[in-house]
Assembly symmetry: C2
């Protein structure tokens, strides 16, 4: 992995933004000195979760803290986000039937019970959609002024016969994205800025485990890598996949599905939809011979209608992401995310 | 369960304090509508964690958010606390060999890297003591002023052949506490108040999974209930055990091990050591015939030297905890914890 960046003396916003600074923090501070998981996937792999060998498969575990602001936004709220984020991370490792979720909630004293009940109803609904439940939890309350309202950490466990990593790309593989990109991030940013156009935008936050299950059933071993483009967006996910596999990803910009309203708001705010979080999408690396079957399976699922092949894996410039715009080529830079805190 | 209390319109500090208010919140808001775990232990059981049937045993999962203030205190820091809290909750369910921990850290922007490295070293050390490792994690950063420095949520998974619940007490069973009580809570409170005497006090924070393993090996099925007396202290743990089993616990006050310095600070602050958190202790319900073996096993372990039989389970006043003082009897009231926020 290339992470020349050195972690500074103070942890700034970029360190939570899913890009290079965060990876440097993990590599330089978090991961060193912890044992790896023999035969599995541990902390140093920096994948979407861990995998512990169990019987003839793996136990998969993944955790995420959620501090999205605002708490409620078009298309969802922090509760739905927490459940979906965790369910989707499990799915990205190949565990599409979550065995259960654990949930720890930290409140600022004075948090309204009515809003909590609304958020909790969202969590229940999202759990039902994903076919799972919350099995255990914890509650802490900080004094007024010590926390901006609420933080929710969800941890998921599941089982997988085969682990799909985010580092499995090989030259020739195709990249599929399961739907439109930029919806969540731009919906959040538009809501924060109280843009009048916001009514047309909504977060894509959804559990995509059944979608991924269908893709895995169709593609089998032809699915070689998966990652959900959350913080840092499609750009960050692709950079990480290219880095870890040592390959180059060449994108066809015109093939990347972006809603018109997302594109418009992105232009208004000066923010590229490719660098903001998605919360109901996956990037899937697929061997050429499995592309048609995987794409057909995705298109049949309500959450995969807009799935598209967006690029190809090559060796021309290892660890890079190149965009073919139709008029030429440019390198896709990785966002540092510092300007987009609390997007999830 | 008796929880006549009704959750108020705003979530106050008591709701995170481990007592009746928190249990009411779980019963009235968190647990309803979530599926139970067939053949296992789910959210509505309000135990130290969940148990999901797996093979001829169970997968155990437990989660805890940590917001202790101050971050560093005599005997430990928030990192050690996070690892031990989770390892100990797993052990309380019977899973004394943790398979791995997940850790989500939320920072306030500007958190010093040097302090993070110190905390992280504590986590590594505590993991080594417990024989486990951190397998996956997440990092979020909130803006300055949005969080008081740091919050760490740890989730643990483990396997157990037999689940030990916190509701298993029967009339005639004995209650053992594995060591002195009140150490953690009074060390934190003394540190906050900058009491000169604080040097003599230290938190008991430690992973007690190997201690519990030894007790279970010695006591077998004679160990009928376990709970770690964290928030709300020994009083809250015993109340919950009495409530859930429908029994009465009669304590011998003179048998409860309390360090002299803890007693002194408690008197100075007007706080009963029985109502403040412990972070390296367990309350174990033991059938009479297994008491000697369990006590001997505890005494052999460095963390169990002060273990003592502190009470007996009866039916005289179901769902109550009675203290025999040597001069008479009193009911032990359950703390509401509102005055002791961020103790863990």
């Amino acid at each position: 992995m290339r992470n020349p960046q050195f972690v500074e003396e103070h942890i700034g916003l970029a360190y939570g933004a899913g890009g290079g600074a965060m990876r440097a923090l993990i590599e330089q501070v978090f991961a060193p000195g912890f044992d790896d998981v023999p035969g599995g996937v541990g902390l140093s792999a920096m994948d979407d979760g861990a995998a512990i060998p169990l019987g003839d498969g793996y136990l998969v575990i993944t955790t995420d803290a959620h501090v999205v602001q605002p708490i409620e936004f078009p298309g969802g709220d922090i509760g739905r986000l927490a459940v979906c984020g965790t369910v989707n991370d499990l799915a990205m490792m190949g565990a599409t039937e979550p065995a259960g979720l654990a949930c720890a909630v930290i409140f600022e004293a004075g948090f309204p019970r009515a809003l909590l009940e609304k958020i909790w109803a969202s969590m229940r609904d999202a759990c039902r959609e994903a076919g799972t439940t919350i099995v255990t939890g914890d509650t802490k309350v900080m004094r007024a002024g010590e926390l901006d309202r609420i933080a929710i950490t969800t941890t998921g466990i599941g089982f997988a016969r085969r682990i799909v990593r985010d580092n499995g790309l090989r030259p020739g593989d195709r990249l599929i994205v399961t739907g439109t990109v930029g919806d969540h991030g731009l919906a959040i940013l538009a809501t924060r800025k109280e843009l009048a156009i916001e009514g047309k935008l909504a977060s894509d936050v959804a559990p995509i485990n059944t979608l991924i299950r269908a893709a895995l059933a169709a593609g089998g071993a032809g699915i070689v890598a998966m990652k959900d483009p959350t913080r840092g967006g499609l750009a960050s996910a692709l950079h990480e996949m290219a880095d870890k596999s040592g390959t180059c990803i060449v994108l066809d910009e015109r093939a990347i599905p972006v809603r018109d309203e997302v594109r418009s708001i992105g232009e208004l705010l000066g923010i590229d939809p490719l660098i903001v979080a998605n919360e109901g999408k996956a990037v899937i690396g697929v061997a050429p011979e499995a592309v048609d079957a995987v794409l057909a399976a995705l298109h049949e699922h309500p959450l995969g209608r807009a799935a598209a092949v967006i690029g190809t894996c090559t060796l021309e410039r290892p660890r890079s992401v190149i965009v073919e715009t139709g008029f030429g080529r440019r390198l896709l830079t990785e966002p540092d995310g510092e300007l987009l805190p609390r997007i999830c």
